[in-house]
Structure formats: C-alpha cells, structure tokens
C-alpha cells in the first residue's frame, strides 16, 4: 500500500498561519530555528505577529509569559530537546505556575533529528513536562492530526507542549477528522491485544495490527496523542475488555506514554503491560529508521510481543 508521508512539523507550520490570520493575538516566538520548525510562511505572511528572540531559549519562554499576561497567545517554537529541557524551569515558573496561555511547539521530537545525533534527539521531553502541574502534553501522529491538534491547542486556555517530527511519517487521518485534547483515537478494534501508541509510532502500531490480523489476532489500536491529561477511560477500557496491552513510543520508556499507561494499570490492579520505546539510552548520528530499530521500535517487535505469552 502506498501511503503519503509528510513531517508533522509541516502540519504545524500550515496550521499556525491559518490561526494567525484568524486571530492577530496569535504570535510566533522563534528562537532562530524557525526555518527548521516551519514558521517561514508565518514570518512572511504575518510579520507583525512574528518575534525572533535569537538563540536565547530562556528569554523566549519569559517573553512569551509576559506577552501572555497581556492577552497574547504566544507560540514558542524550537526543537523538542531545547523547548523542554533547556527551558524547563522557565516553563514551570513563568508559564505553568501562573497557568499562562503559552504554547510550546517543538519540531524534532524523539529520534527524528536522526543524523543530528544525541544532542538533538529529544527522548525525555514529554515525560519531564508531564510532571509539571497545569501542563498539557501532545504529540500528533501525522500531518492532519498535527494541524487539527495545533488548532485545538490554540483554542485551549493554558500551557500546552506540542511535539512534532522532523522526518516524514505516513498520513493516517483525513483533513476533516476531529480531535479532542485528552481523548484517544481508536483507530482499529480487536479483543486480543491493545496497542497504545503516539506520534510517529502510531503508524507502526497500525502496520503491526494489520500483520497480526493476517495471523488471526485482532488488535485494538489507540492513538494516544495526548499523554497529559491521559485518556484514563480509554486505558481502563483496554484493561477491562482486553487485558493485554503494549505501548509504543518514540520516547524513553521511562516517564513517557508507557509509564503513564502503567500508572493506570498499576492502580487498577489488573491488566498486563509491555512497553516499547527508547531503551533508556542516548542515540547517535544514524538514519531515523535505524535508531528506531536499535531500540526495538519496529513493527516486527510489536507483532512478536503481541503473539507471545506474558
């Protein structure tokens, strides 16, 4: 099957222009990597709403907080490694604590910065930010959902962290698909195993489900685009109706989607879980697909886990 592939950062870049045209209070706060993060069109079409603070992430977060106190909706744009960890405490102190209406929109999530190496691969970001009160953490699975979720995030009053891919990933959704922050998308249903994925691994989960179906195993596939607030009900339904759950994520297996799901399962006192994700190790310069393979984030691995007894 031939599927169209588009980086999710492109979805962000297009959505932010549409949003900016509709609402002059939507601002982009760039930190000198706007070109890579797809804010070029916004800069060109809406120069009055465009700010570039230079290579100064901390300042970008602070300026955004100040703008938000004056009714603006600033979108701080950078790479995920910097937009989460470099400015973690500014996000906590000046954005989340006062619950200001600032969006942090980051490209280069997970290992998608690939050949840039470990310094640029963000494998801890979503986990770190989900532990900050008032923060919402989202990673869309494809181009269309990126566009839709950026618009939902802009309409939501409060801090949101959005994470996109540098690399092209298959388009899963139609352009008119509706999304709700904090509500998982059930992309496929089945009673033998539940595969809960987010971001660039949702397409792997879908391919795995297809392969499993060919062997007579039916998998439920959830796109858990929001890891905070987590869709606890969707996880609970997987526990009650299926029991066997696999999480897949382009993020460290510590503190990301797998951990969030594990928390629900542990408190439920039932359900079984296996986590697929970055194996608590730094990456290296290598092709994106190879980096996923090095961590066992592959269709084959999902299929093998689903088939095995545990």
């Amino acid at each position: 099957m031939e599927t169209k592939k588009i980086p999710t950062r492109n979805g962000f870049g297009e959505a932010i222009v549409e949003l900016g045209k509709e609402n002059k209070d939507i601002l982009v706060v760039d930190i000198d990597i706007g070109k890579s993060c797809k804010t070029g069109e916004f800069r060109k079409q809406l120069p009055e709403q465009y700010i570039n603070v230079g290579i100064a992430e901390q300042n970008g977060a602070g300026v955004a907080a100040g703008l938000a106190t004056c009714g603006k909706i600033p979108v701080v744009v950078t790479y995920a490694a910097f937009g989460s960890m470099r400015i973690c405490e500014m996000i906590r102190q000046e954005i989340c604590y006062p619950k200001l209406n600032v969006k942090i929109a980051c490209s280069h999530g997970g290992v998608t910065p690939a050949n840039d190496g470990a310094s640029h691969q963000a494998i801890e970001d979503m986990g770190i930010l989900r532990t900050i009160p008032n923060m919402t953490v989202i990673m869309p699975a494809d181009y269309a959902s990126a566009k839709a979720l950026v618009k939902k995030a802009a309409a939501y009053e409060g801090p949101v962290y959005l994470r996109f891919t540098r690399d092209a990933v298959p388009v899963i959704y139609g352009e008119d698909e509706d999304f709700e922050i904090g509500k998982a998308k059930r992309l496929r249903d089945g009673g033998d195993v539940a595969i809960i994925a987010n971001g660039d691994t949702v397409c792997l989960a879908l391919q795995a489900a297809e392969a499993l179906a060919a062997q007579g195993l039916q998998a439920r596939v959830l796109d858990m685009h929001t890891i905070k607030p987590l869709d606890n009900q969707a996880v609970a339904a997987c526990i009650d109706e299926i029991g066997k759950i696999i999480t897949v994520e382009d993020h460290n297996i510590l503190n990301g989607l797998g951990s969030a799901v594990a928390e629900v399962i542990a408190e439920a006192g039932k359900g079984r879980l296996k986590r697929i994700g970055i194996q608590d190790q730094f990456g290296q310069s290598a092709p994106y697909q190879r980096l996923l393979e090095m961590n066992g984030i592959t269709v084959e691995n999902i299929v093998a886990l689903a088939q095995s007894q545990w």
């Binding site: 901390q58 300042n59 602070g62 300026v63 955004a64 100040g66 703008l67 106190t69 000046e94």
Partner: protein, 281 residues
Amino acid sequence: MDQKELTALKDKATELRIRVIDMIWKAQSGHPGGSLSVADFMTACYFHFMRVDPQNPRWPDRDRFVLSKGHVCPAQYAALAMKGFFPMEALDTLRKEGSMLQGHPSMNKCPGIDISTGSLGQGFACGVGMAMAGKMDGKDYRVYVAVGDGECQEGEIWEAAQTAHKYKLDNLVVFVDNNGLQLDGTTDEVMPNIDLGKKFAAFGFDTYEIDGNDMEQVVAALELARVVRNGRPKCVYAHTVKGKGVSFMENQVGWHGVAPNDEEYKQAMEELKALYIEKEA
C-alpha cells in the same frame, strides 16, 4: 515635583519600610535586606509614577511592575496594601498557609502582582514581553522591572536586555538594585559584576546612575525614563544599601533572608519611625 510632594514620598518610603519589617517579624520569615534597599524605588513607582487601579488590578492599560528579584516581595506587598489593592491586615499573613502573600509573588493569588516570580533572572524577560505587547497594541503603558545586582549573574537577564534593545522598548524601565550583597557574600566575592551600568549601556539602554536610596534622585531618573521616548530601553543603575534604614541591617550579608527577633524588631521600629519627616499620620 515640589518639596512638599517629595517629603510626602519620603515618608511613604518610611512607612513602607516599617510595614516590611513588621510583616517579616510577624512571619518570622522573609528577606528584609533587599526589601529595604529597593524600598525607595518601589515607593516612587507606586505613589508617583505608575497608573494602576486597585479596584481593577488587571486593567489592560495599567503600568506593570515586575519584581524580578521576587524574594523582596514584602516591599511590593506593603506598597500594594498601602495603595489599597487589599486590606492592610493581609500583610500579617505573609508566608502563612493559605495566604495570598506567598513567600515569592504569585499573580493568581495576590491582586496587583503582574507576574509570578521567585526564580531569579526570569522576571526581566517577562517584563520585556509585556513591554512588547504594549508596543504591538499601541498602548502607552510602561513596564517597571526591579532586578538585583546578584541576579544579573543570571544569563537570561542579558538575553532579555538584548531583546529590549532589538524591539526598541522605550516603554521599559529596569531598576538595578545595586546593593553589592548577595546570599553567600558580597557580589565582588561571589561573582564580580564589574559595572552593571556600563553593561546595560553596552546593551543599548539609556542608563541613569544614581543613589537609589535618595528619593530625589530616584524620582529624577524615573521622570527622565518616562519622558525620553527615543526607542531605547531605560536602565536606572541604582547604588543602594542593603538593609537601608535599620542600622544593624545595613550592608550586612547576614540580613539577606533572616527575620528580626523581638528585640531587634523593637530597635528597627524605633529607628525607622525616627525617619519620618512629617509627623506620623
């Protein structure tokens, strides 16, 4: 400003200092030294320069105050109470459970606080964002930011400074409370700042170097900062005395974050009350 107004403003600063020491003594916790060094600037802002409405603390056209050195919030809390943002009795709840007067300012708890601060180096950038929003919206409000000299060791201060220059924020005033002391010692011992006035000037600020505990000089500098609209942000590089007004606290590193005991409180009150020029109201 005539002599009568100046005298009234000096007495306001004395009242503010008294309230600072009183609330820190009652809380048995807080930062008296820096609260006293910034007191004259705080007073000049709230009782002469800033357009604020205590009945409407989030009035969009108000002037903003950012206490980047958030630990000296007793000075701002006193000013806000004296201005009528909340009842004076609230000052007795400083740092207590359930209080709107948190150990470091919280904008969603305390009316009149324009941004939550407390982690040093961060407030200035927020002030830059506020000034930028004012320019974008064609509003003529001003943003006053107080930073500590020790705080200027944080890199984010300079990131914010270069942004203020780039965006020509002549509606922004940063007051550098240059009291020469920080928690672990003198700034010269811990990390020499060399000349913060020259640093801000090099970053494109119009810089006014003054005695920050001389009300006449504070008012004159802020008046200049108010009227000169030349596309350059303003810096008031103010030499101040940490603990100003209480003899045993002045220039003492140890009074950075310690509350006075009963005896010290009594002496501090006597000394501060003696500073009133007109009779106490």
